[in-house]
Symmetry: D2
Subunit: 141 residues, 4 copies
């Protein structure tokens, strides 16, 4: 267990921005998923979705995502994505996110994934090795 | 007013898919935004977000999006995105979406945007010319 | 054999553009690959890279791409990507491309792929069924 | 002048990969442009294309790109993009790139941009402040 929240840093660039000079809205779920993948890498010895699927025959497809946008994202500052599990169900996991630039909240989000056996794309219970790591990290959404 | 719902067709390709052989989750909000932009083009003489911003100094930034994923999206079929306004507030508009492949529901979504004066990035009431077109098209979410 | 060149139409949008109000350069190779994939679909009964890999255990990874940009791409017009094979080697195929908006040449490109057996990622000769279709379509680069 | 080459590190992820389990070809020019933008940020006090355009009314649109792909890019290792100017013309700049994963060369590239006054999209000579920084860094392509 740790008291330091996991924060994934994203380098927002020119190519992420639209003519309104801010990151295009459809880039923000992409950034959020990058942060969730980085969360997996951080807590499971560098294993993100790629290793999970290819090496462990496990997937975590999304069943829901919900995001609120409060301030535009720009290349002026790094985007800091605080990412944490908010719920671990029998067969699902929910992540919360708070993303900041220069200490201003840019967006929040909630993301629910189910655990699957990858080769048959069938849901399954969260493996114990994952449950053991996730449970102490769960916090309020 | 029309009884035929607006449907935006998307050609899903190899490049949209991840190693699980289905469209990467972060591509789906992108597809949804493509459909909403196409909805604007269809109902306003070809004017989408680009023309709105550059020619009319108006923006419609997103304040919220929420999506439920029920079936994987693949390149096997076109993705048909049924798109429609579900609410027109004083300064905001909400779109609903139901996206199908081969008559199977792949995802649903709800997307709320606010109207802004683009050059100052300040919210403003929905212009009358927009209100007139949108109101008859509103349906249940 | 046909005298009508294959043209893939792309709907350029707001989200493809950067703050210079033109399509971001890194989107243009993406568009070009979409056009090449569409070329495969058009000439092989709807089978693009996805079906080629999954159903036929064949890949065509790129070994080279080269593009010259002559005029900006914008959402004002559809992007018309004329796509054609310029060379069929023993184990490789080269495509040429000329992309227009409103009859103005925006970019040209040349793209070389090798044929591979997908499951072992090993190069192989172009299959006869492909050779038969491609050869009559080859034109100067 | 420095003897240490500039290397931009990219975290390749699941979402960058296609069903062949390697980074989709169209992502590689995107990565390359990220590296070139990072090169500008590194050598000009954090100013990349965004600051260049918005704060200095200067653009560097691409007129050509050419890439050779020699080994697949995967999420197994960071992608190290060695980036350097190979030529500074009166009104243009050319960058070379060598991208490695785990010390294996994945791709090389050459990228030529022209200097423009952004608000009128008109070419112009390379500013002296840029010439001064770039010239000592030029090396063979």
């Amino acid at each position: 267990m740790t008291d330091t929240p996991f924060v994934h840093e994203i380098r927002v660039t020119w190519g992420d921005c639209d003519p309104a000079q801010i990151a295009y809205t459809a880039r923000l779920p992409w950034f959020a998923l990058d942060a969730i993948n980085a969360w997996w890498e951080e807590h499971f010895d560098g294993e993100g979705w790629f290793q999970m699927e290819i090496d462990r025959n496990m997937g975590t497809p999304f069943v829901n995502l919900s995001m609120d946008f409060s301030s535009p994202v720009t290349p002026r500052h790094r985007l800091m994505c605080e990412t944490y599990p908010t719920r671990l169900g029998e067969k699902s996991i929910t992540f919360g996110m708070k993303a900041y630039q220069n200490n201003v909240l840019c967006f929040t989000g909630s993301f629910t994934c189910v655990f699957t056996q990858a080769d048959v794309f069938k849901s399954m219970p969260a493996p114990d090795r994952i449950r053991k790591v996730v449970e102490p990290l769960i916090r309020e959404g």
